[in-house]
Subunit: 217 residues, 2 copies
C-alpha cells in the first residue's frame, strides 16, 4: 500500500457539503487539509468549522500548495475553474469527484458531457495533470455527521496512471470504513458518475444513505 499519510490534500469547492465532508475526514485522519473557495474568507470559515488543523484559501492558492487536489465543485463551474488552474495543477494528481446530474420531479438523471464524463473533461482541460476519478458515491451527510464513525462503502478509483490510482486508493482508506478499489480506466468514468443518480433513487425508496461494495475481492 502506497504511504500517503504525509500528503497535503487541497479541496477545490471545499465549502460545499461534499468537499467539506471529505475535508473533515482527511483532517481527522491527520492530513494537512487546505479548503479552497472562490472567496478566501468563506474558505477560512469552512476550515474553522472543521477544525483539526484545516486551513482555507482561494482555489488558486490551494491548487498551488497542495500535494493532491480534489475537485468538488458543482458541475456548472467545473470546466472553467479547471481551465483557469492549468498551471497550478500541472504535474499533480487531480481527483475529480464531480457528478454531472440533472434533477426534475422524477428525481435525478445523468447529464450528457461532451468529453464523456466530468473526469474526462478534467483530463482534456488539464493535459499536464494526472487525473483520477473517485469519491462519487460517498454521502456528504455521513461524512459530516460527528456520530458516524465508519462509512460503509467502497470508493471506486478510476484512471489510466497506475501510481496515481494506487495513491488515491490508499488515500480513500484514510476515511474509516472505506476501502479503495480500482474501478477501471478513465473512459469508463461516465457510468460511475451517473450511478449517483441511481443511488439517489435508492436513498429515496429505502430512506437510506446508500453506498456500494464490490463483492468477491
Amino acid at each position: 500500500m502506497t504511504d500517503v499519510s504525509k500528503l497535503s490534500i487541497g479541496i477545490l469547492g471545499g465549502t460545499g457539503d461534499q468537499g467539506k465532508g471529505l475535508a473533515r475526514r482527511f483532517a481527522l485522519a491527520g492530513h494537512p487539509v487546505l479548503i479552497g473557495s472562490r472567496n478566501a474568507q468563506r474558505a477560512q470559515e469552512a476550515a474553522e468549522s472543521i477544525g483539526a488543523g484545516a486551513t482555507g484559501a482561494e482555489n488558486a492558492d490551494v491548487a498551488r500548495r497542495a500535494d493532491i487536489v480534489i475537485v468538488a465543485v458543482p458541475y456548472e463551474g467545473h470546466k472553467a475553474l479547471l481551465e483557469s488552474l492549468r498551471d497550478e495543477l500541472a504535474g499533480k494528481i487531480v481527483v475529480d469527484c464531480v457528478n454531472p446530474l440533472g434533477f426534475d420531479k422524477k428525481g435525478a438523471y445523468a447529464l450528457p458531457v461532451e468529453e464523456g464524463s466530468a473526469a474526462q473533461q478534467a483530463a482534456a482541460v488539464l493535459p499536464d495533470s494526472r487525473v483520477v476519478a473517485a469519491f462519487h458515491h460517498v454521502s456528504a451527510v455521513l461524512l459530516l455527521d460527528p456520530e458516524v464513525e465508519k462509512v460503509d462503502l467502497d470508493v471506486l478509483v478510476l484512471g489510466d496512471d497506475r501510481e496515481a490510482t494506487d495513491t488515491v486508493q490508499a488515500l480513500a482508506e484514510a476515511i474509516p470504513g472505506v476501502r479503495g478499489v480500482y474501478g477501471g480506466r478513465l473512459r469508463n468514468a461516465h457510468q460511475i458518475e451517473a450511478l449517483t443518480a441511481n443511488i439517489i433513487s435508492i436513498n429515496r425508496r429505502y430512506k437510506a444513505h446508500a453506498g456500494i461494495r464490490i463483492t468477491d475481492i
Copy 2:
C-alpha cells in the same frame, strides 16, 4: 414480497452463457423454465444440459408461452429480435439484461445506444410490454458452476412500473444469495448496463468474479 414462485420464466437467447446460467438457477428454484433460441434444437440441447425440468423452443414460442420473459441476447441482435416479437410480448413483463459493450486491447467500454440504453430501446420497441432492467452484473461463470451454492450480490432492478419491478425483485431472490434491490427508473438504466465494463476491469485487476452490494439498506 410478491409471490412469484409459480411463474414460468422464458429466456430469449437462453443458449448463451448468461441466459443459460439464469435458466439453471431459476429451474433449480422450481420455476418452469423455457429456453429460447433462433434454433429449437439448440434450445432443447441447452435445456437438457440444465435439467431440472427446463424445456427448449424457438424464441417466438417461448415469448408466447412464458409468464415473464428475460432478454439475454447479444446486443447486436437485440432490437431486431424484439421488434419481431412485439405481439408475443404484449402485456408481459420483459426483463432486459443486455449490456451494450465494446471490447478492445484496453478492455471493455460502453457502447452508445440511441435510445439511451438497451432497456430503453426495448421499451421503445415494445410499447405494450412492461419493460424492466435487471441481472446485468451476475457472473455467468458463477451461475453455471455447480459448486457455487450462493451468489454474493444485489441485483439492481430498474423500471417505471412498480408492480413489475417488485415482481422482478422477488424473482431475483430465487437465486440463492441474491437480493433484489430497486435501482431507479428506466431512464437511469444506461449506467447500470455500462457498469458491467467496470466490473470486467475489476475482475481483471483482482482476478475475481465481482458483483455489487448496496450498503445501508
